[in-house]
């Protein structure tokens, strides 16, 4: 199932019938070029940023407004047995690839990044990366080196902060009348 000989692969995960290649971020362009030219993954379907800040640290789920709450991750509560294993890095950039041919296949490539770590742009491998990388930059602050026009795409140009980060609050934008009694 999973392609062999891809440069920079750290780990290969098979789950739910999907294959994930975890790739060393320093070698992402090398790995993607190999996947395109040798394995035939000709379409970059999507690029998604993910913020794992606070992953596995959440002890209370379900009850809003009761600080003590309940630990529903505890064994025996609805059959779920474990708190997810902590992640070593905060961010992940997830590339979804498609081999559009008579023998179609899908593949997920994941590059794990620390806060402030940069990654090379794959725009030279698939032009479709353009807006997707700009979106990940805009919403997560992940910098893609070598992107020709890495500016905000969804948020206004003068926006501060990256809204999809986990430490960016929901409702953080002051609205008229909100502070008035």
């Amino acid at each position: 199932m999973s392609p062999a000989g891809v440069p920079g692969v750290v780990e290969t995960v098979e789950a739910h019938g999907e294959t994930t290649l975890v790739v060393d971020p320093a070698r992402i362009v090398e790995a993607c070029t190999h996947l395109r030219d040798v394995e035939g993954y000709n379409v970059l379907v999507d690029v998604a940023g993910v913020d794992y800040l606070g992953w596995g640290a959440k002890q209370v789920a379900g009850y809003i407004g009761t600080p003590a709450g309940r630990d529903i991750h505890a064994p025996g509560s609805q059959g779920f047995e474990r708190v997810p294993a902590p992640k070593e890095t905060r961010f992940a950039v997830v590339y979804h690839l498609l081999r559009l041919s008579d023998d179609p296949a899908r593949l997920r490539v994941e590059a794990r990044l620390d806060d402030g770590e940069e990654i090379d742009s794959v725009i030279g491998v698939w032009p479709a990366a353009d807006w997707n990388e700009r979106e990940a930059y805009d919403l997560y602050g992940i910098v893609f080196r070598g992107h020709p026009y890495l500016v905000r795409i969804l948020m206004p140009e003068d926006w501060e902060g990256h809204p999809l980060r986990k430490d960016y609050p929901l409702g953080g934008e002051p609205v008229r009348f909100s502070g008035e009694a």
């Binding site: 739910h16 379907v45 789920a61 795409i153 969804l154």
Partner: protein, 422 residues
């Protein structure tokens, strides 16, 4: 992938070199002193929402172009991280507001994949039936508005006549005309009403005739042909490089439809054709849309036949940890009351993991990347928006076009700005 041989010869790639989505003015071809920069939008009737195009004109010709998006960014993905899964189902529908059921479906399928939940046959076929009706709905809005922009005003009224019939069907089944929230995790929210079968069958009979009428109005209309043929060229290779999907891809000669290539629901059990046209121009994209409406009507009638056989069967999975118990049980069963209370207040837990599910929406591959940490709310939801991919091809398609063609090209990309900006 069978690529239909192109009748028009494309010389190499048309994707702009410096940045794939920005067309820079070429100083070798244009006198920079003659360039006039015009802001198209964000509020312009022909932009299908709030799309802003910064166009650099040399006379009547488009010399440079940059698309600016984000005016309809509503933070759906952020909001959904704070909602339990069953509450979150209402959000994806508002993302692509014309193809709402495809978005609803893809989110529900992603949750079911993580849960490992099987849905009853009846739910599968009804989901397919409504998805196809929704495809017709979306294509009709596309046809009506695109033709309107090019001056064929009457098309709008005809297309909206049939669109209303689809909405009537949605209203009958779900109680609302748009944003139906009818797909539940595990199946459907309600059983199918009795009158639906006959009315849906009648509509499936009527629709191909209506498409013939539309084509009679447009296919030999000289103005329509002049304004669509050979305009907005996109070759198969460029379409793949820019990750196009749906009608954009099939209008460029690539035979790719997720319903055939990676069948989900029960698409491998129905009989339908996938239209492919080779020229990659506005006209071919129009033809793809027309043929797809016929194909969808065929699928709808097959679905209705199958659904009639499944009368009386269950429409939702029998899994009390995920699915709300039947309302009437709440009066008599303590267990049901507890389950109802738990699911409504706390939500159900979805096992840790991440999945990517894709369906063929009206505009192409609508995907959902869902990350769960094992709790009752998604850790991360990312929608793969087909409109965003389509809009990335604007700069490639308008190369060498006149300003009037720009309207036709932007319309043929079929962008829904809610889908682009999320």
């Amino acid at each position: 992938m069978a690529v239909v041989p192109t009748t028009r010869i494309y010389e190499g790639t048309r994707i702009p070199e410096r940045c794939p989505t920005i067309l820079d003015v070429d100083p070798a071809e244009h006198d920079l002193d003659d360039i006039l920069t015009v802001n198209f939008g964000p509020n312009h009737p022909s932009t299908h929402g709030v799309l802003r195009l910064i166009v650099q004109l040399d006379g009547e010709h488009v010399a440079g172009l940059e698309a600016v998006i984000g005016y309809l960014h509503t933070g759906f993905e952020k909001t959904m991280e704070h909602k339990t899964y069953w509450k979150g189902i209402t959000y994806p529908e508002r993302i692509d507001y014309l193809s709402f059921q495809a978005n609803e479906l893809v989110f529900v399928l992603a949750i079911e994949k993580l849960l490992g939940l099987e849905t009853p046959e009846k739910a599968t076929w009804m989901r397919m039936c409504l998805s196809e009706l929704n495809r017709i709905h979306s294509h009709l809005v596309w046809l009506g508005t695109s033709a309107l922009e090019m001056g064929a005003i009457s098309m709008f009224w005809y297309a909206f006549r049939e669109r209303d019939m689809v909405l009537d069907l949605f209203e009958m089944v779900t109680g609302v005309r748009m944003h139906t929230r009818y797909f539940q995790v595990g199946g459907l929210a309600e059983d199918i009403p009795e009158g639906f079968y006959e009315q849906a069958r009648e509509f499936a009979r009527h629709m191909p005739r209506a498409v013939n009428d539309y084509e009679a109005l447009l296919d030999r209309n000289k103005i329509w042909l002049e304004r669509t043929k050979g305009i907005g060229l996109l070759s198969a290779a460029d379409a793949l490089a820019l990750a196009q999907s749906g009608p954009m891809l099939r209008g460029s000669g690539v035979d790719w439809d997720l319903r055939k290539a990676e069948p989900y629901l029960a698409y491998d059990e129905v009989d339908f054709d996938v239209p492919v046209y080779p020229n990659g121009d506005v006209y071919d994209r129009y033809k793809v849309h027309m043929d797809e409406m016929r194909a969808s009507a065929r699928i709808v009638s097959q679905c209705v036949t199958r659904l009639e056989e499944l009368r009386g069967q269950s429409w939702i999975a029998d899994d009390r940890k995920v699915v709300l118990p039947p309302r009437e049980e709440l009066h008599t069963s303590m267990e049901s009351l507890i389950h109802h209370f738990k699911i409504v207040t706390e939500g159900y837990l979805v096992p840790e993991g991440h999945v990517y599910v894709a369906v063929e929406s009206a505009r192409g591959e609508c995907g959902c990347y869902l990350v769960s940490d094992g709790g009752p709310r998604p850790w991360r939801v990312k929608f793969r928006a087909p409109s965003l991919a389509a809009l990335q091809a604007t700069a490639t398609c308008v190369r060498g076009a006149a300003i009037a063609d720009l309207i036709a090209v932007a319309a043929s990309l079929d962008p829904v700005m809610g889908d682009v900006d999320r």
